[in-house]
């Protein structure tokens, strides 16, 4: 009797497998080929078979059990929290028995559902916070820093980022939308939160760069009252766009001025190196004042590549008639003075590239940096998804490769499988059985 049941069960399983295989071609998949020998082992050894069946049922059951236990605990926690809230409501405000927690945390905890894991985690947080009215010491430091940097639009509200501020006011109506808020918070996290503010190595590098004068300290630059970005975060979208437009205009005008300056005085290269004679390249050695770069490196103006001189080819002369030494010696003489002038290799003197030394350079760079920041911010806000699609170098690289190599013969080395369709299979079979001329049967 048991054998019959087993037989029926096996037939049923086999039928299911045949159906699945014929529908999806499971046996042709790499995964099946991989597990096939193991399945055969399972089939041959009853111990393995039993183990596999047990594992098949125990693993999902175990997962379900773990999940249900955690849910049960969460549910109990919720009940406990609700009981505590009810008890708290009975106490007065000043009653020391009242559990001191932020209101928002209580609200979050009461609103959460069992299925929402993220909300549950947020709701659990206040339980582990210090239940003390006085803010922690690091919060004082953060507040101080916020107060110092509040008038700088590059400043990020640390309380806001850390989620400790009670009320988060959106800068605009669009930012108030949940998806955009998520994008912005991601942006803030990536740009400022952990990488720059909390990284001591980054601070050290910043300090070094400032000491070397390679970086302008934006924090010390107080923005003027007419600066369009002074209160950027408080502007609405149109005003923000207008501010960016003004900034672009200002930048263009500055660039134009710089271009005019460069065009009007090409000889005067804006550089900290005013006089070559001032450069000390050794203890007692200085560059000769009369030495000019033109003598050394400039080409003769008469030589033009566009119009090469087509001199008539001289008639061949016997080797004896050519005085080779006369032809070589003048060249050697011309090179000798250059060898005398060339100084020995010395360490390159330090050059001061402080932005302030360049006419208008610091202002332009700061404006460009700010413009980049705001444009990136706006791009992130409005075109977050598009930006992600654009930044897909592998696809672009592949397309470029295909475009460049489209002259290569396209050949497919894909495995040609026997067609599943019976009609096509028969056609293929006939094509292999009969010769090309044997087509009378059709």
């Amino acid at each position: 009797m048991i054998e019959q049941y087993l037989q029926v069960a096996l037939e049923f399983v086999k039928e299911i497998w045949f159906q699945l295989d014929s529908q999806f071609g499971l046996e042709e998949t790499e995964a099946f080929k991989f597990i096939h020998p193991y399945l055969l082992q399972l089939q041959d050894n009853p111990m393995y078979m039993g183990g596999a069946f047990i594992a098949l049922f125990l693993v999902p059951f175990g997962l379900y059990k773990v999940r249900s236990i955690s849910r049960e605990r969460e549910r109990k926690l919720d009940e406990l929290m609700e009981e505590m809230e009810e008890e708290e409501e009975e106490y007065e405000e000043d009653d020391p028995r009242r559990l001191r927690r932020p209101e928002s945390a209580v609200e979050t905890t009461s609103d959460k559902t069992a299925d929402d894991d993220e909300d549950e985690e947020e709701g659990d947080k206040p339980l582990f916070e210090k239940q003390d009215d006085a803010p922690p010491p690091y919060m004082e430091i953060l507040e101080k820093l916020d107060a110092e940097e509040s008038d700088d639009e590059l400043h990020v509200d640390t309380q806001k980022v850390m989620g400790t501020k009670n009320e988060l006011e959106p800068v605009s109506s669009e930012l108030a939308e949940p998806v955009i808020n998520k994008d912005l918070s991601e942006f803030e996290d990536f740009e400022f939160d952990s990488d720059e503010k909390n990284d001591p190595s980054h601070d050290m590098a910043m300090q070094e760069l400032q000491d070397q004068g390679e970086l302008t300290e934006f924090e010390n630059n107080t923005l003027s009252s007419d600066d369009p970005f002074a209160n950027y975060s408080e502007l609405d979208d149109e005003e923000q766009d207008r501010a960016i437009q003004e900034l672009q205009d200002e930048m263009e005008s500055t660039i134009n001025k710089l271009t005019e300056q460069l065009e009007s005085g090409p000889e005067e290269i804006p550089s900290a190196i005013k006089n070559l004679g001032d450069i000390r390249i050794g203890d007692d050695t200085t560059i000769d004042d009369e030495f000019t770069l033109d003598e050394e490196f400039t080409l003769d103006e008469d030589i033009t590549l566009e119009k090469p001189k087509t001199e008539p080819i001289p008639e061949p002369q016997p080797l004896e008639s050519i005085d080779l030494t006369d032809a070589v010696e003048p060249v050697i003489e011309a090179i000798e003075p250059v060898a005398d002038v060339s100084p020995p290799l010395q360490p390159v003197p330090e050059r001061d590239y402080t932005i302030d030394d360049k006419p208008g350079g610091g202002q332009v760079d700061s404006l460009i940096n700010r413009l980049k920041y705001f444009q990136e911010n706006l791009d992130t806000r409005f075109h977050h998804s598009e930006k992600r699609e654009r930044v897909s170098p592998p696809a672009a690289a592949t397309n470029d490769f295909v475009d460049e190599h489209r002259y290569i013969e396209q050949r497919s080395f894909a495995t040609k499988s026997i067609p599943v369709d019976n009609k096509k299979y028969m056609e293929v079979l006939e094509s292999f059985i009969f010769l090309k001329d044997q087509n009378k049967h059709k």
Binding site: S22, L40, L429, Q438, H441
Partner: protein, 324 residues
């Protein structure tokens, strides 16, 4: 071509598709079901049936067929399985596969003279006439294929060769018909007649008197198909497709006898030299084989192994009895 003994030939165009293995187990199954069975290895030159039965150094072999001193009974080797005798083809001397028609006819006469219920012939691969002639003396033809396309192609070629050989032998006296059905000499062969339909058209046009005989030959040709090493339902469809091909181009009514699933047990049985029907009669390949035996013998067989002994349950299909 008629004989008192039931001759079942197991052939197929391709080598290595399991002809010997299936033939051996068919013989064992029939012997266990009570029939007196003689299993014969006709794969001269490459015989290995004795190895599948676990018989090393067989007492007689292929050369004894042509020894005047040996009698029929001395060629039959005991297999250790009741009701089953074995005629070995061992003695694979180089070139021994290329025996002439006279020797083939002698072997055929020997087969027909055997006293048994069933003689099972294990054929060699290919479509040469030595093989095809053994196939055509059988009362029940079994062609074996595997699901691979190459195997299906060769099996179709094998069936076509067998049919055309039958027609050729039936009209040996007519050279014009021989040109159409015997393409062994390409220079004189009419290769335009490569299907039964095209052949019939030529018979209608040129040999209307022989048309009835031709039709009878085609009608009597009913090979049974077995698909070996089946792994999926798609593999089973290859058997159907082969039957369709045979019906379409050869107009022969072939039957689907059954299939045998691929299993490592079968392979292991070869290594152990114990036929899988004896080693594990309740395995799936064994059950498949029992169904094939049932289709060949019009019985329902069930083998059960208990305490090292095999018990056979046999039920005769009544419907087949009424038909007889």
């Amino acid at each position: 071509m008629t004989s008192q003994v039931n001759i079942i030939a197991v052939g197929g165009g391709k080598g290595g598709i399991g002809k010997s293995l299936v033939c051996t187990n068919l013989a064992i199954g029939m012997a266990l079901s009570g029939q007196k069975v003689i299993l014969m290895d006709t794969d001269f030159g490459a015989s290995n049936l004795h190895a599948l039965l676990g018989i090393n150094n067989p007492a007689h072999g292929f050369q004894d067929f042509f020894n005047e001193e040996s009698n029929d009974q001395s060629l039959l080797i005991d297999t250790g399985i009741s009701n089953l005798k074995f005629v070995s083809g061992a003695g694979d001397n180089p070139g021994s596969a290329n025996i002439d028609t006279e020797k083939i006819n002698k072997v055929i006469s020997f087969i027909k003279s055997l006293e048994a219920d069933t003689v099972l012939l294990d054929l060699g691969p290919g479509t040469n006439y030595n093989v095809i002639d053994f196939f055509n003396i059988s009362t029940q033809n079994v062609v074996l294929t595997t699901p691979e396309m190459t195997s299906v192609m060769k099996t179709f070629s094998f069936i076509r060769s067998a049919l055309f050989r039958r027609i050729s032998l039936a009209f040996q006296s007519n050279p014009d018909i021989q040109k159409m059905v015997d393409h062994s000499n390409p220079s004189s062969a009419d290769i335009e007649t490569y299907t039964t339909g095209l052949l019939r058209d030529r018979f209608v046009e040129d040999f209307p008197e022989q048309l009835e005989e031709f039709n009878n030959i085609v009608k009597d040709f009913t090979p049974g198909l077995v698909v070996n090493r089946v792994r999926s339902k798609k593999d089973l469809k290859t058997g159907d497709n082969l039957l369709k091909l045979v019906k379409k181009f050869l107009e022969a009514e072939s039957t689907y006898l059954g299939y045998i699933i691929e299993s490592d047990r079968v392979r292991d049985s070869v290594d152990e030299m114990i036929p899988f029907l004896i080693k594990d009669p309740q395995s799936k390949p064994s059950e498949n084989l029992q169904q094939i035996i049932g289709a060949l013998t019009n019985t329902d067989l069930q083998f059960v192994k208990k305490d090292g002994r095999i018990f056979v349950s046999k039920q005769v299909r009544l419907s087949s009895g009424w038909e007889v």
